[in-house]
């Protein structure tokens, strides 16, 4: 019998990880909602940011949170560059081309990382990697709490940008009706690029803040993109609020199911949920919410 404290503990770490998943999925779903592109390489941006954070820590002793001043602009610019070089040229192409081209990006990024770092798992040990706050029966790992707090703050920040700024208005307009947006003078191409860059930066932020308690290898990206698919679909592709709820839900399911069953079976359950949602509610569990 598994005690209540263990379940509470697992639930808490599920919510923490779920917040990070939500941030990753929101980046993914934002890009899809605006540009209609399913970016298979999105999880590899998380991996890339983990490696940059790792490198900053190992060479210059830069804390992962301090390193964000480098990582965020770097990946925003990288997203912008990839958009100009590649994505822009296939925006009008069918979905199959989107998937293949972003798979090409995925393969490229993965092997680039493999070339520089090799295939071993690497991690960093910060002063707070193993620290916890003890609250009654549960202990709250500081590093995970920090990652969750930053992720949730970023989600709120993104939502504010989308709903309170003129940039956000332009993004939502271009997402709902590109032709109409262009007619009223919105530079749709630029909006697409900004959305793609924001999505990339969101993935990078998630990668940086999980580094204090995670291991990175060139092959961890696949895990993140599969999670992002499931969460984004669960919340309704293109819905930011849906992705937040989906992320927390998947984090919880993952953590709680790991108490009772094998991880590989838990993974199968997560994908079975994906299939059921796609069949019965392809617009997501929240209804027809849009960006």
């Amino acid at each position: 019998m598994i005690g209540l404290d263990v379940i509470l503990q697992a639930g808490l770490s599920g919510l923490f990880m779920g917040s990070v998943y939500a941030l990753i999925a929101i980046g993914f779903t934002l890009v899809f909602g605006v540009t209609n592109i399913v970016n298979f390489a999105h999880g590899h941006f998380v991996m890339g940011a983990m490696f940059v954070t790792y490198l900053l820590f190992k060479t210059l002793k830069v804390d992962p949170y301090v390193g964000l001043v480098v990582v965020l602009p770097l990946f925003f610019a990288l997203g912008s560059l990839i958009y100009r070089l590649v994505i822009q040229r296939i925006v009008e192409a069918p979905h199959s081309a989107h998937m293949m081209v972003t798979l090409g990006l995925l393969i490229f990024i993965e092997n680039l990382a493999n070339l520089f770092f090799g295939g071993d798992l690497r991690g960093i040990t910060t002063t707070y990697t193993t620290s916890s706050l003890v609250l009654g029966a549960v202990s709250v790992p500081i590093a995970r709490l920090g990652a969750a707090a930053v992720s949730l703050a970023a989600v709120v920040g993104l939502a504010l940008v989308l709903h309170r700024t003129s940039l956000g208005k332009a993004i939502r307009a271009a997402a709902n009706n590109p032709e109409g947006a262009a007619l009223v003078g919105i530079d749709v191409g630029r909006v697409y690029r900004v959305a793609f860059s924001l999505g990339t930066a969101a993935a990078a932020l998630a990668g940086a803040v999980i580094m204090p308690f995670s291991l990175v290898s060139p092959f961890v990206g696949g895990e993140f993109i599969l999670k992002a698919f499931v969460i984004a679909v669960l919340g309704g592709l293109g819905s930011v609020a849906g992705a937040l709820i989906g992320g927390l839900l998947i984090g919880l399911v993952e953590a709680l199911s790991s108490l009772y069953i094998q991880a590989s079976l838990g993974n199968a359950i997560v994908f079975a949920i994906l299939i059921v949602v796609l069949l019965y509610r392809p617009w997501g569990i929240l209804g027809q919410a849009r960006v």
């Binding site: 998937m99 081209v101 092997n111 499931v230 079976l265 994908f271 299939i275």
Partner: protein, 311 residues
Amino acid sequence: MVAVAALAIAAALPLAAGPHLLTAMIVALHAAFMALAWNVAAGYAGQFSLGHSLFYGIGAYASTVLYLRLGLTPWAGMFVGAALAGIVGGLLALGVYRYKVHGIFFALVTLGAAEVAKGLADNWAFIKGPVGILLTMQNAPGDFFFLRREPYYYVALAMLVAMIVISLRLERSPLGQYFLAVREDEQAAEASGVDSYRYKTIAISLSAALTAFAGSFYAQFYLYVSPDTVLIFEPQLTMMLGTMVGGAGTAFGPVIGSLLFSGLGEALRNLPFLESTRGIVIGSKMVYAVLLIVVLIYLPGGLITLGRKGA
């Protein structure tokens, strides 16, 4: 004439190739077969499945388990595997199309199905879970085991030739025309009396069965089947790379694409600055990735459209 000449050259190649090159050629022929099998659904019928590793896995496991448990020769077992994959693919398609899942959602559902299958296989003791199943190397041509590489080469070649013939016949058959009609405009096809539900299901089922043959070949050639070798995304990727770069929806595009990718790997092996095996593998994958992106941007119909423009 061209076909006969190409076949004669292909048949004579093992005489000139060393063991290493021969292995590379077997892998290339196998990749081309897989690509054409996926092409039946994704290319001709426009059903972009990302879950074909599931059918590949069914083929690999079916012939292997039937041989080890019942002593059934894999020559027959591969047909059982194909039938099984055809049924699974058909049922999956029936369910998925019933709910009008299409486009990107179809791709994600099929990807999910393959992931579920991998999770189940990892936890299924009957097929030894994540440990996988080993076959013993032996000289038993009647059971699809050879000690030398040449017989595997000829089997792979025969399978590919059969697959090309099937693709060409499909192109000229009413079934193939229905596939194209559904791919080009499903509503228009429906309006002119084509039962798209039915033909999409047939496309997936047929494509799944053909893919399973490749899985059985894999098991016999590598003598090892596990969830981490046949139920991962890798086989799916092999099918897509060759097909999309060569030209989806054609009988020769996927072959050109697959042979090109395999050939590139071999060519890179001889470059001076890539000395380690690791460097070769990584380097060739990066070249594949760039090639894939460039071709899809500038030649969306694949390399095969180059020839058409010239002709």
